[in-house]
Homo-oligomer: 335 residues x 2
Amino acid sequence: MSVTIKDIAKRAGVSITTVSRALNGYPDIHPRTRERVLRIADELNFRPNAVARSLVMKKSKTIGLIISELTCSPSSHHFIFDIIRGVHDQAALMGYDVILSATSPNQQQEISYMELCTRRQLDGVLLMGVRTDDRYLQEVLDASVPCVLIDVPLISKTCGHVMVDNVCGARMAVQHLVDIGHRRIGMINGHRQAYVSFDRLKGYRQALKENGLTFDPDQVFDGNFEEDAGVEGVNRLLSRFPDMTALFCASDMIAVGALRALQQWGKRVPEDVAVVGYDDIDLARYIHPPLTTIHQPRYQMGKKAAELLVRMLSGGKGEAVVLEPQLIARESTIR
Amino acid sequence: MSVTIKDIAKRAGVSITTVSRALNGYPDIHPRTRERVLRIADELNFRPNAVARSLVMKKSKTIGLIISELTCSPSSHHFIFDIIRGVHDQAALMGYDVILSATSPNQQQEISYMELCTRRQLDGVLLMGVRTDDRYLQEVLDASVPCVLIDVPLISKTCGHVMVDNVCGARMAVQHLVDIGHRRIGMINGHRQAYVSFDRLKGYRQALKENGLTFDPDQVFDGNFEEDAGVEGVNRLLSRFPDMTALFCASDMIAVGALRALQQWGKRVPEDVAVVGYDDIDLARYIHPPLTTIHQPRYQMGKKAAELLVRMLSGGKGEAVVLEPQLIARESTIR
DNA sequence: TTGAAAGCGCTAACAT
DNA sequence: ATGTTAGCGCTTTCAA
């Protein structure tokens, strides 16, 4: 049996109320009493029971980190882990615990969003990896529990989000290609159910336009964020546009696949075709040739998301936090 | 305000006791009553309050996943993320939620092991990444909360562990090198505060012995699990043993560093020096040359750990779960 | 088969 | 400055 405030009260010869107040630093308590209570609590090695407190306070000091099924794709961990760390560190800093959850692939196991929240009395939720067509999204908007979305640009009274500016990132990538002389630039995009795909395409178009290049939808291959899409994308794009000299990929894994396919086409990178990826996962540095890519501040995304959520928990409104991407030039575009 | 069993009781015209029993599937309840209660609960969209239940049951159906500071090293995410997934999936399957925690670098923030457990009423704890000299370890052994250690071979009444057989893994690696003709085999090990380092060295020695090769401590470089150690290890080892033809590295990141250093020495891999890594992180497949390595079933480790912990929670004793590593031969040893 | 009552450990009116 | 009392939502004796 563990020590409760009752034990302390008995030992200190005061009521449990006094103990509670002393422990929680209320002002209306005699310094000597407080001191004695604190000392005894320490002697008894007292640990407050967060569960009991949650029950009466109706606040659990816990946030849920929900990772959508989508994000459990083979390559996603490069991306997710840093975000998890950022979320955890910032949450801990602010006195919150993080419960991990995932929208599971097998339907039967699936727990509804609200169910999770109410069951565990979550104060708020962080949601990442949801697709535009995810049914969770509607639940989130309907729910009263504050929520911060990662990479999904929705905003409402109870909803905010954190993103990296994808339009900007894509523009930087394409502008970089233009700057080093490319005019025939293809794109391999992620799947259409990701918000980021939409913005990256937009950035690609903008950059072309800004440089007086015409946008041709056929020069964009819609795949997914995995390696395979890179392979298929190159095959399609190159057979249709043999004179393509540059490729913007919506993820580093796509770029990895592209690199492989380009090699099979006998194209040298960057001499024949320059390649830019997106994400700056560890692999980008180590692959051959090292990949020029758009860096996303993943740890910061997690931190900012947790920060925003806690702000919302204390009455703040949902807002949009947009972080800046960064171009990392490596040898896949310049030698 | 959310729906409670009281609301259901009122609406159904029964006592809250009856509602509780009906909801929890007790047998001593009239089928018709149960049915009505269930229907009303559903109509009202009732969600049991896990916090209240935890308070009275003294079981939170929550386990803590504590990741030691150590494990937050730059390269560790390759390894950890899969374990987290395994833990989460298996825990969810068995009705447990997972709270994420970390032993934080800044001392002041540091929460004691027991504090975390009692505060959140954790039913059990999973601990990974602790060093042999970590003070958490003693707390764990002293504590009454069941605990499963990952990659730390301790066992007690309340403690079990999950590991991959590191002696075996190292032997496989070295045996592989011997099999393809190497006799002068160096090793770059991780730091000494990791249990796995000890076992991998043991496996290295065993394999040498089994093949009639003599063990020379100078042929082992003790570094850490990061890339830098690989670079430094190669430099040290090669300047002392210019005729070394093979290298066993205690992590893939070490091997990556080794590959880089070897190149600077003008050594071709695998022609001049063969390299074997450990872990089989994603990078191993993509680096040039693709790395021969020892695969660790990371997702399984997480799953098994959660499984063991839950078994212990229902009265099981601490036990040792040992998984099998697997040799993945790639081009860093054979062309 | 059902209900009344106690209580898990804590906080928070409302006295005093 | 301190104590009394009433809950938070649930489970669980014990009686009926």
